[in-house]
């Protein structure tokens, strides 16, 4: 069985105290606990501090363009749905540059696990505002404070048809590991939004900030109801952050509904050679 060491690539270059350290450990721990090894996972990385995990995590990796990891992940899954596909992306990446792809990945119920490092800023470009920053957040690109309201990734995913929506906190790794495991085990599109303090560029959404505002969903919480999940997710708009599985239902995945993928992966399919089957329409 693979170990944390097997999944560990280069030593991370994240800032000391960055939430990404915790997320990196949580991802590797989840993969190990699921009995996976680096040869049996496809990991698609976005661009940003989060995407830099490409060098720190051993797997069949694809370090994508900024914002475009989700369609890469969809293509990889369609080609070989026998392998788990994990997209490790950032808030600017997934909710800004690639926002459109998120909507369509959700509605397709593509069997992907999307792990978003949500820190409210663009760290790699030295601290401009991201789409999840609270209204009024002052940054280099919004010196008078951002005018827009923040994106609510949870309601966005719920409304778009995601079948698994969860939220974790980089400051509570033991809580986040099982969330990631459940997301990978879930058949269908899963979003894990992880609240991630950026210690260098975000002095508002700090560990302390989150510790005062996060709460864990309790045992009575009904994750299979959109009517329950939506209000829980809307709490984000009040700067209250629910942690846990917000929503999980079963719906056929995209691949489940593609007739030509019944019983085989696209990769392992026999080559099509019967051109006579399509030539008649040209005569």
């Amino acid at each position: 069985m693979a170990t944390i060491e097997d999944f560990s690539g280069y030593a991370p270059t994240w800032c000391p105290g960055c939430g990404d350290w915790g997320i990196g450990v949580a991802i590797k721990s989840a993969l190990v606990q699921l009995g996976l090894d680096p040869s049996s996972v496809m990991a698609i990385f976005g661009i940003g501090c989060s995407g830099n995990m490409n060098d720190f995590l051993n797997a069949y990796g694809l370090h994508a363009l900024h914002g475009r990891g989700l369609p890469n992940a969809i293509g990889a899954k369609l080609a070989n749905h026998a392998l788990p596909v994990i997209a490790i992306v950032g808030d600017g990446d997934c909710y800004g540059e690639g926002g459109n792809h998120l909507l369509h990945a959700c509605r397709g119920n593509h069997d992907l696990t999307v792990i978003v490092h949500d820190n409210g800023v663009y760290g790699l470009t030295t601290g401009q505002v991201s789409p999840t920053a609270q209204k009024g957040f002052k940054s280099k690109s919004t010196p008078s404070g951002i005018i827009e309201k923040p994106i609510n990734p949870l309601t966005l995913a719920l409304a778009s048809g995601a079948t698994f929506v969860a939220q974790g906190f980089a400051g509570d790794i033991n809580f986040t590991i099982p969330l990631i495991k459940k997301a990978i085990e879930h058949r269908g599109f899963s979003l894990v939004n992880i609240l991630q303090p950026c210690v260098t560029f975000n002095h508002v959404n700090t560990y302390q900030y989150y510790l005062q505002r996060v709460y864990k969903l309790n045992g009575d919480y009904r994750a299979d109801s959109l009517h329950v999940a939506m209000p829980a997710a809307l709490q984000m708009n009040e700067e209250k952050f629910p942690l846990g599985v917000i929503y999980q239902v079963q719906r056929p995945t995209y691949v489940d509904q593609v007739a030509q993928l019944k019983g085989t992966t696209l990769l392992n399919k026999k080559r099509f050679e019967d051109l006579a089957a399509i030539s008649a329409e040209f005569i």
Partner: protein, 572 residues
């Protein structure tokens, strides 16, 4: 020897396209060869649609200006096209629709009366018109009836018979009233079986035949029928077809699939291609195989969506930031489209880089006949070549981007046990990890560039020469869909003016092999560059890549393809 043109026109939305294709297929099934062309506005209803077919006993590669049979389903058809009639042309129309006073050789068929009496729908006017046309051409209705059966079989015998009745009535009306105008131009020649295909059909067919397993697209004229054909066939071919949310998602879906090890392609036109450009650069550095079908229409921006232009060549050649290898191929007809498309998939796998197959509306949407035997033979002989793609690694350190003499490294398909790597959009060292090291950077750039040297040595195809380069007084230089027009013009110049010409037709457009190309160009000979664009884009590319400059240019950029007669008039 029989050669004639037939043109039908009517209001957009009333089945002109279907009817034209039926006519092309009838001629093809009777053993004739055809070339056809559609004109339609970017509308679903309203506006004027036309479909013209040139029918011949030998290969037909272009249109002709003169229309021998003009079928007018409304007065616009006559008004827009009467200037193309000659004294022996025949105009088919309905006197109840409009009057023709300035042209004598007409055949008046009471479309409206027949429709009214038989309670037919408006689209059945087309069926009457095809029946009437076949009567004038001395043909029976046997093949039209077969095609009607094929089209309506699912709707039941009554519907089949109902449609056949309108064909019969059109045919009978002409036979009974215009016996003197009937000429035996369409007889059953019992030739070999032919396929009637557009450039888009040929790309789609070849993609299926070349083991393309995933295709993604966002509809964009004139490439859309590639998406709809491949989607319609997917349960037969096993291909997965994704209609994605935008062209950025399209190409990235394809790149994801390519990373995971399957052959994958996408299709678009200029605007969609513009959205794909950043990802093309990603494919270049991550060394992911991808085939992009790019069918041009007149730009810039939304331009003229349903018309033709060859104005995206330099855009394709230069598409993508940074420097990376790329191969651009341009078929000139459906036969070349089949061959080059299949080759494109092999080249993408061999060189692990983007291969662009160029087309334009004229090639993408015009039908042409091709021998089925020829197509079958091609695919029987076609070998899938995946180059250094491997599905297992037998130990030892694996270096995805290993420095090699030919610039190409072994590519393991994800899932192979005991190994892993990352395909990286950042510059990387040999094992795939990100780097900013000066030495490693230069090594990887050189490695990628080497692939082009290898390609020029192993796979660059010399341009095809038609005619005799040594004796020709005029040498045309061209690429893409102008091929058929120029071949036809060459024939007209030979037969009508005793002028011997030659044509240098390029299909491997980028990169160009300087040594192999330069020898084709001699001093003191008249070279004429013929392109469907305003800036002589291939001429610029030729100069840039080989130092050959062609000063004399014949350029057309009004959205219409060249007429062979235009070429003839220019050089005669």
């Amino acid at each position: 020897m029989t050669k004639f043109s037939w043109k039908i026109g009517g209001e957009a939305g009333f089945g002109i396209m279907t009817t034209g294709l039926v006519f092309s297929k009838i001629a093809s099934r009777l053993g004739y060869q055809i070339f056809d062309y559609v004109e339609y506005p970017s509308l679903i209803r309203g506006g004027h649609n036309t479909y013209e077919v040139v029918v011949g006993e030998e290969e037909v590669s272009a249109l002709q200006v003169s229309v021998d049979y003009l079928v007018c389903l409304n007065s616009d058809t006559y008004r827009f096209h009467c200037s193309r009639l000659h004294k022996n042309s025949i105009v088919i129309y309905d006197q109840e629709d409009f009057q023709i006073t300035d042209f004598a050789n007409t055949v008046a068929v009471p479309f409206k009366k027949i429709l009214h009496e038989q309670q037919g729908q408006l689209v059945m006017k087309n069926t009457i018109a095809v029946g009437a046309s076949l009567a004038l051409l001395g043909s029976d209705l046997a093949i039209l009836n077969e095609l009607i059966e094929k089209q309506f079989r699912r709707k039941g015998e009554a519907i089949v018979e109902f449609n056949k009745k309108f064909a019969r009535m059109g045919h009978h009306y002409v036979t009974a009233n215009y016996q003197a105008k009937i000429k035996k131009k369409l007889v059953n020649r019992k030739g070999e079986v032919q396929m009637v295909m557009t450039g888009n059909d040929a790309f789609s067919y070849a993609a299926a035949g070349a083991d393309c397993r995933l295709f993604a697209a966002y509809p964009m004229t004139p490439s859309s029928s590639v998406l709809t054909s491949l989607a319609a066939w997917q349960e037969k071919t096993g291909m997965v077809v994704r209609h994605a949310e935008d062209e950025i998602s399209v190409i990235n879906t394809v790149l994801g699939a390519s990373f995971a090890g399957v052959r994958a392609a996408c299709a678009t036109s200029g605007g969609g291609f513009a959205l794909m450009v950043e990802s093309l650069s990603f494919a270049g550095v991550a060394e992911l195989p991808v085939v992009v079908f790019l069918s041009s229409r007149p730009g810039p921006a939304t331009g003229m969506p349903t018309w033709t232009e060859q104005s995206d060549l330099l855009f394709a050649v230069h598409a993508g930031h940074g420097e990376f290898p790329k191969i651009v191929l341009a078929p000139g007809d459906i036969g070349e489209m089949i061959g080059l498309t299949a080759k494109a998939f092999n080249l993408a796998d061999i060189y692990q880089t983007p291969v662009i197959v160029m087309s334009d509306m004229f090639l993408s949407e015009s039908h042409k006949t091709i021998s089925k035997q020829q197509v079958d033979n091609f695919f029987r002989a076609f070998q899938i070549e995946r180059g250094k793609t491997i599905s297992a690694w037998d130990g030892g350190q694996y270096l995805r981007y290993k420095l090699t003499d030919d610039g190409i490294s072994e590519r393991v398909i994800p899932g192979a046990k005991g190994v892993y790597y990352q395909a990286n959009s950042y510059e990387h060292i040999e094992d795939g990890h990100t780097t900013e090291d000066a030495v490693a950077r230069k090594q990887q750039v050189d490695k990628r560039n080497k692939k082009m040297t290898t390609y020029l040595k192993n796979h660059f195809a010399n341009p095809k020469i038609y005619g005799d380069l040594n004796s020709a007084k005029v040498v045309f230089v061209s690429w893409g869909s102008t091929k058929g027009v120029l071949l036809t013009a060459q024939e007209l110049l030979r037969s009508g003016y005793s002028r011997e010409t030659a044509l240098i037709h390029f299909t491997s457009l980028f990169p160009l092999n300087k040594e192999k190309v330069r020898v084709l160009f001699k001093k003191n000979r008249r070279y004429v560059l013929v392109e469907n664009n305003s800036q002589a884009q291939f001429g610029k590319l030729l100069l840039m890549e080989t130092g050959v400059e062609i000063k004399e240019k014949l350029l057309k950029y009004d959205g219409r393809p060249f007429w062979p007669e235009e070429i003839v008039n220019y050089v005669k």
